[in-house]
């Protein structure tokens, strides 16, 4: 009987781990990762969701079984109370999970915010309800963000009125544009395409309309665009 229970528990735990791994490899937390940050965040979220699925299904199974066990098999399962060994296990399991997730998160944070060599600088001015992009190297100022794929970019932000928040979901991160300080977001775009920047901090009645197109182009296309803008 006891051996059979141990076998059953082992099979259940292994299948939960299997489901967790399956979820982690199948889910697409980010719509279409288009920068180095986004790839890292996508992986991190997959690990979180895989683990969360396994934990949730495990707890849910335990909950249902624990609730009906007494009615099915009679309430004979006495345990000694207090039970230090059991309580230690209740602490150790979540503590281990939290520790792993914390260390992993810190690692991803360090990778995401590592200094980048020779970045393209873009100064972004936010105001109700528009984004303005300024390229200090070439003196170009526009209403759309263009970035070359493969070259690191450092975007700096400043707001001239209230708080806004610059979010290109496929880039995997956001930062607030504040009226009193300059903030920044570093990333390397990886995939060419046209995306959208939205405002993620409520900034007034037209908040939902504060959007700007974001172009990631191959370096030659980017240079061409920059020159045509500078020529205007």
């Amino acid at each position: 009987m006891r051996e059979r229970n141990i076998l059953l528990v082992t099979i259940l735990v292994l299948s939960l781990i299997g489901v967790g791994i399956a979820v982690a490899s199948l889910v697409r937390p980010l719509p279409q990762p288009a920068s180095d940050r986004a790839v890292l965040v996508d992986q991190l979220l997959r690990v979180f969701f895989g683990l969360a699925t396994a934990v949730f299904l495990g707890v849910e199974g335990l909950l249902v079984f624990a609730a009906v066990r007494g009615r099915l098999f009679g309430s004979s399962a006495a345990i000694s109370n207090p039970n230090p060994a059991l309580e230690l296990l209740w602490l150790a399991v979540p503590a281990a999970i939290v520790l792993v997730l914390s260390v992993y998160s810190i690692r991803v944070l360090l990778l995401m915010e590592a200094p980048r060599s020779d970045p393209l600088l873009v100064e972004i001015a936010a105001s109700q309800y528009r984004w303005e992009f300024h390229y200090p190297e070439s003196g170009v100022t526009t209403n759309e963000l263009h970035l070359p794929a493969g070259r690191p970019a450092v975007l700096t932000f400043r707001s001239s009125d209230v708080i806004h928040s610059f979010w290109v979901p496929v880039f995997g991160g956001k930062v607030d544009a504040l009226p009193d300080r300059v903030t920044s977001l570093a990333l390397t775009p990886l995939r060419t395409g046209v995306y959208q920047a939205v405002c993620a901090e409520y900034c007034g009645a037209d908040h939902a309309g504060m959007i700007a197109p974001v172009w990631v182009e191959d370096p030659a296309g980017f240079e061409q665009w920059l020159q045509s803008e500078a020529g205007d």
């Binding site: 940050r37 890292l40 998160s105």
Partner: protein, 487 residues
């Protein structure tokens, strides 16, 4: 226990009357906050639906948030505490009865001030009222909103002081004063008294700024960061101070419906202390994307994540208590089981938001709304219902209809999942919160979420019908003493 209807309309020091006053008033406000939610759900149900303009939408989400937190959940938890605390403690009198009564009579003017702000027009900056937007927004509506919050925090302070005094006065009752609900109330009240004064000071500064044209307290760079810190120093533990009484009520219900004392009760109490302590030092997790000093981000991440450890411990203690018992599946028990499951979803999505890199992606998206609604509706509201059904027969001397109660549970659980899980998915797709336009490709999720809100509304009406019908014409209940309170 049959009282004259008029006794509920008069100032009182009787905790049983206060419990009813708080619960009835808070659920009246809940209906208003819920109506605003249905308005928003209608706006985002189908593409092309246009129920309100951008400014009205902003007032709807701002008032929805502050009504649900300050006019529904906080006073409803206060009502549940008035109903349960003395019974669990086994004492007959509050320690500061007049102060507790004042708590209720501050709720009414505070609530009316807040409701009036909705009708004053203009744009509204959300329940977080971030500066400088909340100082610049013109119109008397925002000023009334700030004033109402000051009154409501004073009401919270009266309630918390009263509960704390009652618990401390009864501390010689060794076994009863260590019941899970009592310990939960003790920590919850302490959190309120530590954190509310900070927001109260910031609100007072904002009110003076809005009323005077002279020198400003919160002008310039001081205001932007100081407000966020002051707001979340209260706003983050606010969830904890709502959650703990729900955890306490669920613990009492589990004891009453298993006939067994909670396994590892002492350690569960310590775990609740840890939840409260960590809740008090995690406020920075709301500011990861807001230019928070890099050096303090990781400590805030660690405290935010670590709260999962004592919460998981409490869940394990509940599961083990169920495991060794023969469970009676009464209505409050179903809500307690639902609490464990739905709060699990809230906790797991909260763990994602505590991680800095994940937070920088999902902060400000509907993922955050989904998480907070899972925590407040799946969590706190389920615990609240468990507690109300549990204490109802003892409080009113009447029995409610068990079948309707169970139907209420099914609708509530179904509504919570359908309304709030799609919000998580919509946020992952890159949709910011507080926008009323439907992103192409997400129509089905938006419709499901709006449908869930409708089911949740139906569930709540079912609850109110069941409770009020039972109260007026229910079968008499024999219970004089709260079942399980002596375990």
């Amino acid at each position: 226990m049959s009282r004259d209807m008029r006794s509920y309309l008069r100032p009182t020091t009787d905790p049983a009357v206060l419990a009813v006053q708080f619960l009835v008033t808070s659920f009246a406000f809940f209906l208003l906050g819920g109506a605003l939610a249905l308005g928003m759900a209608g706006e985002t149900s189908l593409p092309g639906v246009e129920l309100m303009g951008a400014e009205a939408y902003s007032r709807a989400f701002s008032n929805h948030g502050s009504i649900m937190i300050f006019l529904w959940l906080m006073p409803a938890v206060a009502g549940l505490t008035h109903a349960l605390l003395l019974r669990v403690l086994g004492v007959t009198r509050s320690a500061l009865p007049r102060l507790s009564g004042l708590g209720f009579w501050l709720l009414l003017p505070g609530g009316l001030l807040m409701l009036s702000s909705f009708f004053m027009g203009g744009d509204s900056p959300g329940w977080t009222a971030y500066l400088p937007l909340s100082a610049q927004t013109t119109g008397v509506g925002q000023t009334l909103w700030v004033a109402s919050l000051i009154v409501l925090l004073l009401s919270l302070g009266c309630n918390a002081t009263g509960f704390l005094a009652t618990i401390l006065a009864a501390r010689s009752e060794k076994s009863r004063s260590r019941s899970p609900f009592v310990v939960a109330s003790l920590i919850s009240s302490t959190l309120a008294l530590i954190s509310a004064p900070v927001l109260l000071a910031a609100l007072t500064a904002l009110l003076v700024d809005r009323l005077s044209a002279g020198p400003s307290f919160l002008a310039g760079s001081l205001g932007v960061t100081l407000w966020q810190n002051a707001f979340w120093f209260f706003g983050h533990p606010a969830t904890t101070m709502l959650l703990l009484p729900a955890i306490g009520a669920v613990s009492e219900v589990i004891q009453a419906n298993t006939g067994n004392p909670l396994v590892a009760k002492r350690s569960v109490n310590l775990a609740m202390v840890a939840v409260g302590g960590l809740g008090l030092v995690s406020w920075g997790q709301h500011m990861f994307a807001s230019g928070l000093i890099p050096a303090v981000r990781v400590p805030f991440m660690l405290t935010s994540m670590a709260v999962a450890i004592p919460l998981a411990f409490i869940v394990f203690a509940w599961l083990t208590t169920l495991w060794v018992s023969k469970v009676r599946f009464s209505t409050p028990m179903l809500f307690s089981l639902g609490f464990i499951s739905m709060f699990g979803l809230a906790g797991l999505s909260g763990l994602v938001l505590a991680s800095i890199p994940a937070n920088l992606q999902l902060h400000g998206s509907t993922f955050v709304s989904g998480h907070s609604h899972l925590a407040l509706f799946g969590g706190v509201m389920s615990g609240l219902f468990a507690g109300i059904y549990y204490v109802f027969p003892t409080l009113t001397g009447k029995n409610y209809d068990e079948n309707l109660g169970k139907l209420h549970f099914l609708a509530h659980a179904g509504g919570v999942h359908l309304a709030f899980l799609p919000m998580l998915l919509i946020g992952l797709q890159g949709v910011p919160r507080r926008v009323f336009e439907i992103r192409p490709g997400l129509e089905l999720f938006e419709l499901a979420s709006s449908g869930g809100a409708l089911i949740l509304a139906g569930a709540s009406l079912l609850f109110l019908y069941n409770i009020f019908f039972a109260w007026r014409a229910g079968r008499p209940a024999a219970q004089e003493v709260l079942p399980g309170s002596t375990l």
